[in-house]
């Protein structure tokens, strides 16, 4: 068994392998993870909207031991990761980190938000620092406005089928 605690270091090896096979391989993999995560999130998000998202990431905050602030506002859900345990483990690792490790988050979350008609603004800030800011909007214009202040805006290209 690769312990849950070590999953991210396994993930890192998977990313490096896929990156060596090309960008499409990475995108396809993140989309596969997105599909898998849909089982845990889609109904909750669809039925409870941003409150459902808050519940999901609150569960993640506790289970993954994240130093994270989570705020549900009238127009958006905002997640501020102060210390990301996932990237922290990649940086505390005897194996080489995948340089674009942070990209996977938008890679799996983005397609779920697209499918549900929400707008994700994922600011990685700096790939070398274990912190980021994620905002989810219902209103597209507000999302576009928010993108302007992002330091390192993350994009995704995968799309979940209907």
């Amino acid at each position: 068994m690769i312990p849950s605690d070590h999953f991210t270091r396994f993930y890192n090896e998977v990313f490096k392998f896929l990156e060596s096979r090309g960008e499409e391989a990475l995108t396809a993999y993140w989309l596969e993870i997105s599909k898998s995560q849909s089982m845990l999130t889609l109904d909750l998000f669809r039925e409870n909207g941003m409150e459902g998202m808050r519940q999901y990431w609150e569960h993640i905050r506790i289970e993954e031991n994240c130093d994270m602030d989570l705020d549900l506002n009238d127009d958006r859900l905002e997640l501020r990761m102060n210390v990301c345990p996932s990237l922290s483990k990649i940086q505390d690792n005897d194996a080489e980190p995948m340089e674009r490790y942070c990209d996977h988050c938008a890679g799996w979350i983005g397609p779920i938000m697209d499918k549900l008609g929400y707008h994700l603004v994922y600011d990685v800030v700096d790939r070398q620092k274990p912190q980021c800011v994620m905002r989810v909007f219902k209103d597209k214009q507000k999302a576009l406005e928010s993108e302007k202040s992002a330091q390192l805006l993350m994009h995704w290209s995968g799309k979940l089928s209907d």
Partner: protein
């Protein structure tokens, strides 16, 4: 034959976690295994597990290289305890046997996804092989049923 050295150097494990355990990561491992094998073949998956065994678990391997299985023993106890598995470890002069009666990783996945990958336990088999490769030890993994196995450390002859 000399007994297997299981000396504990009293240092913490290289990767030692505390706090909560996010068991859903095992679901992502299951998804990953099927994805890699479907798209790149079994050999590619084995290659990734080999890198985990050799490049991530450098410290466990270093201890094995030095003839000490104690670090792997400590690793097993720490993580099987954290994941609340039902297991025991028997130590004799010639072998160390980890018997996992209820693998919580396997059963957690089984409760969530329609089908556990038929290669799910390769993460254990192949990573063990890679950790032991080139060391004075072998680590043989026998899957004894759904979510149960025996992992045996022996000195190579």
């Amino acid at each position: 034959m000399n007994a297997i050295n299981i000396e504990d150097d009293d240092k913490p494990l290289r990767y030692s976690d505390s706090g909560n355990v996010h068991m859903d990561f095992h679901v992502a491992t299951n998804t990953t295994i099927d994805f890699i094998i479907k798209n790149f073949g079994l050999e590619a998956m084995d290659q990734i597990f080999s890198r985990v065994g050799k490049d991530v678990y450098v410290d466990v391997r270093r201890h094995l290289m030095e003839g000490n299985a104690g670090e792997l023993l400590k690793h097993w106890r720490h993580f099987f305890d954290r994941e609340n598995a039902d297991y025991n470890i028997d130590i004799s002069d010639t072998e160390i046997v980890l018997t996992v009666r209820h693998c919580t990783a396997y059963h957690h996945v089984k409760n969530i996804v329609p089908k556990v990958s038929e290669h799910f336990c390769d993460q254990t088999i192949k990573t063990n092989n890679a950790m032991a490769d080139g060391t004075p030890f072998s680590i043989d993994t026998e899957v004894t049923g759904p979510g149960s196995c025996r992992q045996i450390i022996r000195k190579r002859l």
